[in-house]
């Protein structure tokens, strides 16, 4: 039924396929940890994709491209931050508007960049390690962003769990009134988190336009931002689970195409909806444990206004 699929190759390609949603989801996780729900991930990703692309093509450096993508995503996130933190606008609606605006703006910025090849990002040179059967392909055959995405997951996990910064972010997200009473600048902390989220989403977008697809076309992110949002919930706001969620989702997507290519007998129409159904199924299993709550930050989606 499954035909001939090489598991090492499958794992290697799902690692690449998952990078954009993983980066974006991680950024959103930090945002949500601080108590802010930004549904504009798709918009920030696509702005990151075009900003990264333009920067890389103009400067010839893919590295600067990623910096440009992060800056672009953060710039769009700044609009969100001003609206929701300073002007106390509704977060859900502002996030959706952000996506609409980002899609339009990216298409405007991208005029004239169709059909250009960006400078390529090579795999990290691991030398002979790459040739280890199986493991070499999985562990040592990728570009730097794949490793970076795992590192940043680890770093976020560490910061959130063990540092004072992480404690403050969590405090702000759980109970902003208490955090304010303790003297923390709630809105400034949230602003920083929103910018971080934008930068990560922008990098994720840049990964699509610079490495995964290497090109610019309108609407290139094609819904990846929504998947990233789903993964945050799926991960119940835990960094390592973002990794698992992204790999799972990316893995099923890659697997269903591989199954088709290998001539599997499962009908295509069911395969194409499988990533979503399996995500729901896993989520149900995870959340149905004995009375466990979902671990959502208590102040998620609520704006904070200092009364004193």
């Amino acid at each position: 039924m499954f035909g001939a699929i090489n598991p090492a190759v499958l794992i290697a390609s799902l690692m690449v396929a998952s990078v954009p949603i993983m980066l974006a989801a991680l950024g959103e996780l930090v945002v949500e940890k601080s108590g802010v729900l930004n549904l504009g991930v798709e918009g920030m990703m696509i702005i990151g994709a075009i900003c990264g692309f333009i920067t890389a093509v103009t400067t010839g450096s893919p590295l600067l491209g990623f910096a440009g993508g992060a800056a672009g995503g953060a710039a769009l996130a700044l609009i969100f931050a001003v609206l929701t933190q300073s002007l106390l606008a509704n977060q859900v609606a502002t996030g959706l508007a952000l996506t609409l605006f980002g899609l339009g703006l990216s298409s405007l910025m991208g005029q004239g960049y169709n059909g250009i090849k960006p400078p390529l990002t090579a795999a990290v040179p691991f030398g002979p390690l790459r040739d280890i059967p199986g493991l070499g392909r999985i562990l040592f055959s990728h570009d730097w962003v794949v490793y970076f995405s795992i590192l940043i997951i680890a770093a976020t996990w560490y910061v959130l769990k063990y540092t004072r910064t992480g404690l403050i972010i969590r405090a702000v997200g759980e109970n902003h009134d208490a955090a304010h009473a303790l003297g923390y600048k709630v809105n400034r902390i949230r602003l920083a988190c929103i910018l971080f989220g934008g930068a990560m989403a922008g990098m994720g977008g840049a990964y699509i336009s610079l490495i995964r697809v290497p090109q610019w076309t309108d609407g290139i992110t094609a819904g990846a931002g929504w998947i990233a949002l789903a993964i945050v919930v799926f991960a119940s706001w835990k960094p390592w689970r973002v990794l698992i969620g992204a790999y799972l989702f990316g893995g099923i997507t890659v697997l269903q195409l591989n199954l088709q290519a290998a001539g599997s007998s499962i009908p295509v129409e069911y395969l194409s909806m499988s990533p979503y159904l399996i995500t729901i199924l896993v989520l149900v299993i995870m959340s149905s444990g004995k009375g466990r709550t979902l671990n959502a930050p208590a102040a998620l989606g609520q704006n904070f206004h200092a009364t004193r």
């Binding site: 508007a97 605006f101 899609l103 703006l105 789903a230 989520l283 206004h305």
Partner: protein
Amino acid sequence: MFRLEKRPTPSRFWTGATPVVAVILTMLAGGLMFGVLGKNPFEVIRTIFWDPLFGEFAWYLRGQLLVKAGPLILIAVGLSLGFRAGIWNIGAEGQYIMGAIFGASVGLAVFPTENRLIYPVMIAAGAFGGWVWAMIPAILKTRFNTNEILVSLMLVYVAQSILAMAALGFLRNPEGAGFPGSRNFNSYPAASNPELIAGTGMHWGVVAAFITVIAAYVLLQKHLLGFQIKLSGQAPRAARFHGVNPTALVVLCMGISGALAGLAGLFEVTGPAGQISIDFNTGYGFTAIIVAFLGRLNPLGILLAGLLMALTYIGGEMASTNLGLPSAAIQAFQGMLLFFLLAVDVLSNYRVRMSMKGTA
């Protein structure tokens, strides 16, 4: 530094004035963008906001405004009930698709029978389709505590796959020479949803939208359920003391919003769209979320917000066709309008005061 001071009650003056302020600000910022793109800003703005209402072809476009706003309002009103109660149905798009598929299936199953009862049954089937699709996240939430945002969103993609299967397979027009897409309902009178009065754009979906607005208004103002919904959103614990059953409320709110989205899909597929096709859904379910918030989750506000949204679509389209603006510029312009509408809302709930010291 400016600082904001919460008003004891929202300002009536600013609640009415903020939309106007927002539209003016958008015109300024958008005009700047259009100018940068090398177009005459005044002409573009006039085309978007004035021409659909009072221009040369307004007799046609005013009706189209209703056609475009109808499904948005219908879906947004349903969503607003859940949003008020803190129940986040983000998947109205999927419920809209399923309503269309269920309703269309019933109609096509009895093709070409002519009977007065067919359309009412289809309406019921459409509402049922949307309701069923919303019940999945509702039951998973109440039974397994699964997050409804994620499940309803994932189900949009599943619904899209089913839509493709329907258009290519079980609902495909047997006389369509193998091409995807169902029969066209406009050529099947018993199952179609035509303009009720020629040239007005009024079809059953628009009628349903108006009825829903009124019903929701009454529900929220006069009915105990409306009070329970509002209370659950503002103070969940207090609601529980008042005997509100959270499980029932989730099922009810998800059910209403799903059924209304399903209805919107049914009216659309049998009327303006005419048929099931691979790309039948055009994002009404997502845009309705914005409409719900623009309308401040208030039925009358949603009515106005839906019409305003429709205006920017139609006017934007005209600007794009007649003045050669890229459609991306219109998208960005819509985004700006939403930003400003959301931003100035602060004035109705807060007072702006000058102060010596900055605040957090």
